[in-house]
């Protein structure tokens, strides 16, 4: 069989598809060496309290228990956290949420581990807890941390908002609230670790940030980063929930007490829910002002992000949310105020759509409201105010990169699902009502200012003539590493059979940042193009040497060989590989993402992660049918038009769009982490409901290919933007169908019935 050429722009099977479909691919979870021990944590079980006494005696006596460890056994600072080091590896004095780990146990089997954890008695004196972000800011609120419950307050403002509101012809106000969401990756948090004879610790872990993990582990446990090797195989899903320490610090601590045996930690589904990170619940108050012709003029916005007991990336999530609070619109006067607040709820952290999902619900709801107040079409008001290249956005950043939201909305407006919507709506069956909603959304790419967003790519001609890409940024399923193979194949003109791929390994690949923020393919891909061009030039020079040709002109890299085109003479890559010393077969290069050059005098509270200058855009449309008798909402049709620059692999592009829309539909209709007094009521798939095959319609995905001049082959990252559209589009469609706006996510049957009973769902 002739192997497929790796070219940019054509649909291609993913490089990892074969090994995954056969079950050969080894995830972190698939590491099960015979001699391994099992590690697990005893968790607090109550949301706030002081540890009085821990009785380990019965657990220690249990046959097969290898070690029982507490705070006193942690050698370093005991503090983990990506930016804010506020989260203990093992709680020693105080517990701040139900999932805080208090004791770490190592045992011969998983069954013995479970028994041992049940034998441990932790006596905790309960403290009053705080579970609401606004109540947490009251003077009498219990303190989650001694430093106070306000993790960060920040303001983004442009123009003069108070004057501007007075100039507006129409001002509308509303409030919104979004629920917490689980990442619900199928491979829960896990890893395997062991000590090497030289004292180094090696981890194979399901992680989005192998390089940063070393620093987090090192800081918490008092180890030098070079004493830690992190290997990051393909993840069974990540979506932000494996960005930052999950099992890492506990696992290394366990390895330090495992006597050179490998030790495995694997959170069960319920433990993943209790101890893992979630999407921030957000409360929003909006005020939007416009002129009679629909031109937006002023935006006021107050946001409360509930980060739970630890920061994780709470401040950065809020920064990005505030940056997108005005959506993808031109609003010259803004005042956006955010508070990121500690509570005793589960930990909120990074999740796909990173703070933006929530405010998209807010601003798009306001746009629908403004449209109806002005008697404008929802599409026209968006089109009229959508950002164009050269505009300043709501943070005052000048848009100098590709800005495709206008063509996205226009394309949606030409699509049959929009133009034929009236007929579909009118054809609703008995006791059904139908509605159509739209949303225009954006999502910033990269880390933003204050933290260099860079990647270092390495590519090698192996001794046997293959091209090997050393990927430094985790592939959690989005297919970035497959895109890297495609990019290298394109630049070096090779087919898939001649390519090899190494996944992140801090000993073998180069630091390339975390797998997040729609940055992975963009940043590493750019670095890889440079590295491949460097390798290509080198190989042509060396081939010229072998062919005794004066200069490399007329030489071309072809699959498996270099040919001198004028003479037809060839050098096989196998021969070049054997001819060159290892150091000459390698090219390494770096790329740094551009940042905003505007000297904006706002958002100074954010030292990192604000502002951004590169954005992906999308216009979404949802067809929704509501059952009048039960209130049940079904999404019957969906369209997503996405500006992700040029598309590298249309098949992977669709995967990302359809997948993010699916998660967004779950967020819109069913997904909510139900928390009562800090305790999660639905910690497993029996009662935390993610969409199944039967809940998702056929999703039409259209690329709106702008040319992003700085992107690898002019692409932009689209991993996140699709998550932001479904909730507001569905909310708009439900309003179109029922005449009532649901202002809290998820939009459940109960919420619709409730709104109908209150007389707000009457037919129009």
């Amino acid at each position: 069989m002739i192997s497929r050429m790796l070219e940019i722009g054509y649909p291609q099977p993913r490089f990892d598809a074969r090994s995954k479909v056969t079950g050969e691919e080894k995830y972190a979870l698939d590491q099960c060496p015979e001699s391994m021990l099992w590690a697990g944590a005893k968790r607090a079980g109550i949301p706030h309290g002081l540890i009085r006494k821990i009785d380990l005696s019965r657990a220690r006596l249990l046959q097969g228990v290898h070690a029982v460890l507490t705070r006193a056994d942690v050698p370093g600072t005991n503090r983990q956290g990506i930016v804010h080091k506020d989260q203990p590896v093992l709680a020693g004095h105080k517990v701040r949420h139900c999932g805080d780990p208090v004791v770490l146990v190592l045992a011969e089997t998983r069954d013995i581990l479970r028994t041992a954890l049940n034998l441990i008695e932790v006596d905790i004196e309960p403290l009053p807890g705080v579970f609401d972000p606004e109540e947490a800011l009251l003077p009498e609120a219990p303190l989650v941390h001694e430093t106070g419950n306000l993790l960060r307050k920040a303001v983004i403002q442009t123009g003069n908002v108070s004057e501007a509101f007075q100039q507006c012809d129409v001002v509308v106000e509303d409030s919104f609230e979004t629920a917490s969401q689980e990442h619900a990756f199928l491979e829960t948090e896990n890893g395997l670790a062991w000590l090497e004879p030289d004292g180094r610790v090696v981890l194979i872990v399901s992680t989005q940030a192998p390089f940063r993990d070393r620093f987090e582990i090192g800081h918490a446990l008092g180890l030098q980063p070079d004493m830690i090797r992190v290997i990051g195989p393909y993840l069974g899903g990540g979506f932000g929930g494996k960005n930052g320490a999950t099992v890492q610090c506990l696992l290394v601590l366990a390895a330090m007490h495992a006597g050179n045996r490998p030790v495995k930690m694997w959170w069960e589904r319920e433990e993943s829910s209790t101890a893992g990170y979630k999407r921030h619940p957000v409360r929003m108050r909006y005020r939007l002002g416009a002129m009679n012709d629909g031109t937006l003029h002023a935006l006021g916005c107050e946001l409360f992000y509930d980060t739970g007991p630890y920061a994780h990336l709470g401040v950065e999530v809020m920064a990005r949310g505030m940056e997108h609070a005005g959506g993808c619109y031109r609003i010259p006067n803004t005042f956006i105020e955010g508070r990121c607040v500690y509570t005793n709820n589960p930990i909120s952290g990074a999740m796909r759509g990173f703070g933006v999902c929530q405010v998209s619900f807010g601003i798009e709801g306001m746009m629908d409201l403004m449209a109806s107040r002005l008697g404008m079409s929802r599409l026209d008001i968006r089109l009229k105010n959508a950002l164009r290249k050269g505009d300043r956005n709501c943070s005052g950043v000048t848009l100098v990169h590709s800005t495709g939201i206008v063509p996205c909305i226009e394309s949606l407006g030409r699509h049959g699902l929009w133009t034929e919507r009236g007929g579909w709506k009118a054809a609703a069956g008995p006791f059904k009502r139908r509605g159509i909603g739209i949303a225009a959304v954006s999502n910033a790419m990269g880390y933003g200012r204050g933290l260099q967003d860079s990647a270092i790519a390495k590519v090698e001609l192996t001794w046997d003539g293959k091209i090997r890409v050393y990927n430094g940024v985790s592939d959690m399923g989005q297919g970035n590493s497959s895109a890297f193979v495609q990019i290298a194949g394109e630049v070096l003109r090779q087919d898939a059979s001649r390519m090899e791929l190494v996944q992140p390994d801090t000993d073998r690949t180069h630091p390339s940042g975390s797998s997040c923020a729609g940055r992975t393919t963009y940043t590493y891909g750019n670095a890889l193009i440079k590295a491949c061009e460097q390798l290509r030039d080198k190989l042509l020079h060396r081939a010229a040497l072998m062919l005794s040709i004066d200069e490399p002109r007329g030489l071309a890299l072809l699959p498996g060989r270099v040919r001198h085109l004028p003479s037809g003479r060839e050098v096989p890559l196998e021969l070049l590989g054997r001819f060159l010393p290892e150091s000459d077969r390698i090219a390494v290069n770096q790329f740094v993402m551009p940042v905003s050059q505007d000297d904006i005098n706002t958002g100074k509270e954010f030292k990192i992660g604000f502002p951004h200058v590169l954005f992906a855009y999308a216009a979404h449309l949802a067809y929704v049918e509501v059952d009048e008798l039960t209130g049940k909402v079904e999404v019957k049709g969906y369209l997503a038009v996405t500006d992700g620059g040029r598309v590298i692999n249309p098949s992977c592009f669709e995967q990302q769009v359809q997948g993010s829309v699916t998660q967004g539909i779950g967020y819109g209709l069913t997904e909510e982490v139900l928390v009562s007094e800090g305790k999660i009521l639905n910690p497993n798939f029996t009662n935390y409901i993610i969409p199944t095959f039967l809940d998702i319609p056929e999703i039409a995905s259209l690329p709106m290919e702008s040319v992003e001049a700085t992107g690898p082959f002019h692409m932009k990252g689209i991993g996140e933007v699709g998550t932001n559209g479904p909730l507001p589009a569905i909310a708009g469609a439900v309003e179109d169908a029922m005449g009532c706006r649901i202002r809290r996510s998820p939009i459940t049957a109960e919420s619709i019935l409730h709104a109908m009973r209150n007389g707000r769902g009457a037919p129009r």
Partner: protein
């Protein structure tokens, strides 16, 4: 205790506790890590295997239940390096993303096509609704199963 059964046609014996979960036997004792576990409670379908040709959730079965049975795991679908048509279609149609649900979905699809060689898209959705995928939008899996069905029908002599 000793238990014996057939895995992908090979007679296999293990000496384990009778209540050991079969998914652990496959993954940890036999090294067949193609079978995944996503929830441990029979909700996600990642651990789907075929027992006597029928789909079963290996996280809900103990080894004792498998005594003497014929088990097919995802590893057993590849014959002499040739992928099963369902696997081939998953690769071609972009039905694989993170891949963690994939082995379970593939086996459920093999069973579905076995029972109904020409399913409609609705029937495919219905038939696979016990398997969760968190990365994709399901449609590409439906595309793949449709295509595999076509290919298998074409390959079967009338």
């Amino acid at each position: 205790m000793k238990f014996s059964f057939y895995v992908n046609g090979q007679q296999t014996q293990v000496d384990v506790s009778p209540d050991r979960k079969f998914v652990d036997v496959l993954r940890e004792d036999l090294g067949l890590t193609g079978t995944k576990e996503g929830c441990g409670a029979g909700e996600c379908g990642a651990c789907t295997i075929l027992v006597e040709g029928l789909p079963r959730l290996s996280c809900l079965m103990t080894v004792a239940q498998l005594q003497g049975c014929h088990v097919t795991t995802v590893e057993g679908l590849v014959v002499e390096e040739r992928l099963h048509p369902v696997q081939e279609a998953f690769v071609e149609h972009g039905a694989v993303q993170c891949g963690f649900c994939t082995p379970g979905v593939v086996l459920a699809a093999v069973d579905l096509l076995d029972r109904n060689p020409e399913p409609t898209r609705e029937q495919i959705r219905e038939g696979l609704s016990g398997n969760l995928c968190r990365c994709g939008g399901y449609a590409k899996i439906v595309d793949a199963v449709e295509a595999a069905g076509r290919k298998m029908r074409e390959g079967t002599p009338q």
